[in-house]
Symmetry: C2
Subunit: 457 residues, 2 copies
Amino acid sequence: MERRMNDRPRLVVIGGDAGGMSAASQARRRGPEDLEILALERGTYTSYSACGIPYLVGKTVSSPQDLIARDPETFARDFSILVRTGTEATDIDLQERTVHTVDAAGTEREERYDHLVVATGAVPNRPELPGARAEGVFGVQTLVDGIRLREYLDTRGPRRAVVVGGGYIGLEMAEAFLERGIAVTVLDGGPEPMGTLDADMGALVREAMTEMGAVFRPWAWVTGFETDKGRVRAVATADAVYEAEVVVLGLGVRPDSDLARAAGLRIGPTGGIVVDRRMRTSDENVWAAGDCVETFHRVSRAPVAIALGTHANKQGRVAGTNIGGGYASFGGVVGTAATKLCGLEIARTGLNEAEARSAGFEFETVTVDSTTRAGYYPDAGAVTVKLLAERRTGRLLGGQIVGAENAAKRVDVLATALWNEMTVEEVAGMDLSYAPPFSPVWDPVLIAARKLAERAY
Amino acid sequence: MERRMNDRPRLVVIGGDAGGMSAASQARRRGPEDLEILALERGTYTSYSACGIPYLVGKTVSSPQDLIARDPETFARDFSILVRTGTEATDIDLQERTVHTVDAAGTEREERYDHLVVATGAVPNRPELPGARAEGVFGVQTLVDGIRLREYLDTRGPRRAVVVGGGYIGLEMAEAFLERGIAVTVLDGGPEPMGTLDADMGALVREAMTEMGAVFRPWAWVTGFETDKGRVRAVATADAVYEAEVVVLGLGVRPDSDLARAAGLRIGPTGGIVVDRRMRTSDENVWAAGDCVETFHRVSRAPVAIALGTHANKQGRVAGTNIGGGYASFGGVVGTAATKLCGLEIARTGLNEAEARSAGFEFETVTVDSTTRAGYYPDAGAVTVKLLAERRTGRLLGGQIVGAENAAKRVDVLATALWNEMTVEEVAGMDLSYAPPFSPVWDPVLIAARKLAERAY
């Protein structure tokens, strides 16, 4: 379909969250003044912090409004971006350059585009098990999920919760329940919580969780949910039944790429939409950003799909710059992530042992115990740092940190080192900040790098 | 002088603090078993944290013993290192490979060496002004200085203090006085406190200081100290007199290289001992480490003398490894430093504007205000990040951070980026950790890098 001469150039964005709205805003900043921008959002809210949902549930954050960076009115007023909420994109026609939409009232439309951004996000893994749709069983993927769960806790006042899945969201939800004085059991299919850490580091998380009064059950594969009058009352595994008045599913997510696949866009081995470094898909007029894409892992050099708001923001910005006629490229990821469970901070970057092995590396590891401040300084907390380095080259492959307050953000040094393909010998020599309130004279990550350098070559 | 066949190889270390004792310990670990190690220390204590002295004075740290990592008995017992305290090295004979020493009793000795480590540290800049030696005027260079000052505060109970010099030590001492409820005025010869920051960032420090109840006086050049019966009662500048019952001098330090110079070792333009990357001096049997050496600044590519325990430790370790027959090199510095003043954290790395100009760079700068946590997360504190990047290349040249708790350690990402000569465009794209308790979705350093990238090319 040729664009008629009197038409304004038109950008359509599918998905009104981090990836999509970053692309839209940046295209507005960088693009031609007459660019028309339409964003389609299936749900009610735009541009909210999905990462903040556990804190909303735990009442660390008081109102859902706090999590919303910009609402549709703000986009309309400040960016001249029209957001149509409650509107689902059901089909993309790459030939005709149109998107078929249906709104809540059932009204269908055909939206033409010159540029299209697919930012459809991720879908939570939800087990197809008996009772999985019972009242009291919640996902916490969207802001609406979070609001509903919070209301349920406020009105029902459950005393026992079960969290299925001991990853980031599972731990953050466990914290939320603890904050609200609700007893919580975390069931995980693996040996330890935080399966993106090695089990020896995950064990530290389990020990801390247990001390905080949460219960962790390893190798706990859920077989179903027992209900009473349509409401959940217990979670069943192969060998046990855990009573629960509320259940949260935190089983991870996968790219929501069905729409893109149906349109004929190329999908990669991770299930994410394939994009080039400018975030362009296999169709030259279509871009993609956020949890629905797969991206390049700089250490494994393999495609990965990592659902994280920070990547979505950067990718959306890159897409928007390119759509606007500028040049920007997304450099990939190194697998950095962080969270906390009450006073315990947890972070990782690069490859863990299983990932390094699967990427074909041989490696050495080291684990050191140190402190977040000089040992003699008040509130010096314990921190454990584990590093992996390639055999012979000594190249840093990954790092994991579990420790007290101020422990987690140290992972950024390791992420920066990975980005630059540094060896642990080089890392050990770096000029990092030192003062007694901030670290021992050798920062814990330097100690770890130094010890690993002695071993890795 | 030929070493006699039956002599054990012998390492002599001049200076029993961070640089010297790191070298000695590492030589013990890596060197031949029969290596004899003698360390000469002019003072009473070995291997203590000089950076901890302000916290000792402010009683954040309770006992001087807390600051001592290892005492002479520990070195003797665990490392077979003989430490002779109260013993000054007065002369080095490079030809004969001997050190002349005098102890407190006046006994003189000639110590032969096969390897010598010069780790004589730094001397504080002390103005030769009337009254500078009065009772109540203190330096805080050595642990003994700190102990004496603390005792003076305990016994005399002064109500007003003046700190001369608004740099790291000056600010840390101001904190110590505030902690003890002593009114404090900081006099500085420049426009703002923290002269290693640009004045616009220093202004933020001044504003915070003032809110904390400390007084800062710019352009205040001290002309003398008024005394009453030999005890200080005021500090005089060209245009004012500041009453003070206790005065601390924090005017920086310079390399203590007199002994090395007299021996004929090469001294550089900074006044520090010249060493190669293995920490070897101009004499092949003599090594040096710590505050007495000059080192390579990786950004300016010029020699610098930076007195900091973390460098001293690394350099000592490098020297010790090489003395022990291994290979290690010191990669230089990027000028990273951090401190705090009560709840305010301050950090810098690389070059500030004046330093960048003097190194011949043309550059762009950006300053951004952000938060240490997601804006909606409780206790999200303000943080200001300033970055400098070279014109045309966009290469990061330096960074400065002033902000609330958890602000300072972010400088390590910038230090790592400088180490790797990254551009701000690259920095902006990096995969740093994100979770609401730790940072906004774009970490403040990423926001700054992103904004500067838009401007630097």
